[in-house]
């Protein structure tokens, strides 16, 4: 993820907390949050992942005016390439990619008003054989989130896996 400006906003935190089923008032009620130890609204521990919203090139978001891999009139709007070519699957991205691991280290927790930047570096990559899904290709990335003062606030390590076959279960 390459993000220049990820503005952390209270309404985004509220919607994110709702989506993970967390009614904790510290994520939506500024008055109540003022009386807690953090002293203000903070973001839930996994909120920083929503920085994808601010990555202009994020590939899992439809781009205005471009074909999208999801369904419309057809099951996918991306035409398959030449049969037999390396990317003859219409779904090269997304369909076989799964999230294998996610690790966060918190130097501090995020608050509305923070403006983050994020830089991602590739980590290790390795392969494994699986009876259920064929060859598994793992790829690690490390993302550093810095605040408006250049301070490191969260370090995230993510491992993605591409499976040979769909995994059912």
């Amino acid at each position: 993820m390459a993000v220049e400006k990820f503005a952390v906003e209270a309404s985004h935190i509220m919607m994110f907390a709702r989506s993970i089923g967390d009614p904790n008032p510290i994520y939506h009620d500024a008055d109540q949050a003022a009386g807690t130890e953090p002293g203000s609204i903070i973001a839930p521990p996994t909120f920083v992942q929503a920085g994808a919203q601010f990555d202009p090139d994020y590939r899992l978001r439809p781009k205005i005016g471009e074909p999208w891999m999801g369904s419309g009139r057809e099951a996918t709007s991306i035409k398959p390439k030449e049969p037999g070519s390396a990317d003859d699957q219409p779904t090269g991205m997304g369909a076989r990619g799964l999230h294998a691991e996610q690790h966060f280290e918190y130097h501090r927790h995020l608050r509305p008003g923070d403006v983050l930047s994020a830089t991602t570096k590739p980590g290790e990559s390795w392969e494994k054989q699986s009876k259920r899904a064929g060859t598994l290709s793992f790829r690690e990335t490390v993302t550093e989130y810095r605040d408006q003062n250049g301070e490191l606030v969260i370090t995230a390590r993510s491992v993605g896996v591409t499976t040979e076959k769909a995994v059912e279960g």
């Binding site: 989506s19 967390d22 953090p38 903070i42 996994t46 899992l60 996610q102 280290e105 279960g169």
Partner: protein
């Protein structure tokens, strides 16, 4: 609200039902909030006809986010210093998820009391869907 090192013991556990009968709508809600619109999570036609799965499935990060509510309910707001997980099985609409955390170590680092936890989230068949660890700051 926060835990105190003098009152917490290795082996202490906490458990929470994270969701009962996970809805496709909650998965859509998470897609919108997180910005991850991968159609395998929300698009029945794409996921069955193109990706080859029986139906849509939840984002791993939705399970990690829901499991995080168990941790923050227990250790207090803003107290986590580390939280990491592996996604070991997929989560499907209709699943009921239960998370458990256990204290594995209580220690002191640079004058700060810390607790290390292990975490497991299972579905209605008792199959683990997420395993992980976390570290939280404690009061003395």
């Amino acid at each position: 609200m926060a835990l105190s090192a003098s009152q917490l013991n290795v082996g202490d556990t906490t458990t929470k039902v994270l969701v009962d009968d996970l809805s496709r709508t909650q998965i859509v809600q998470y897609a919108g909030a997180s910005g991850d619109y991968n159609p395998v999570h929300t698009d029945e036609k794409f996921v069955t006809e193109i990706a080859g799965y029986p139906t849509v499935f939840a984002h791993g990060m939705l399970t990690m986010g829901m499991t995080g509510t168990l941790l923050t309910d227990w250790v207090g707001d803003g107290r986590l210093t580390k939280y990491g997980v592996r996604f070991v099985n997929q989560v499907w609409p209709g699943d009921t998820l239960t998370a458990t955390a256990e204290v594995t170590e209580i220690r002191e680092e640079d004058g700060q009391h810390l607790a290390d936890l292990t975490i497991t989230t299972v579905n209605q068949d008792d199959t683990p869907v997420l395993t992980g660890t976390a570290t939280a700051r404690l009061d003395p």
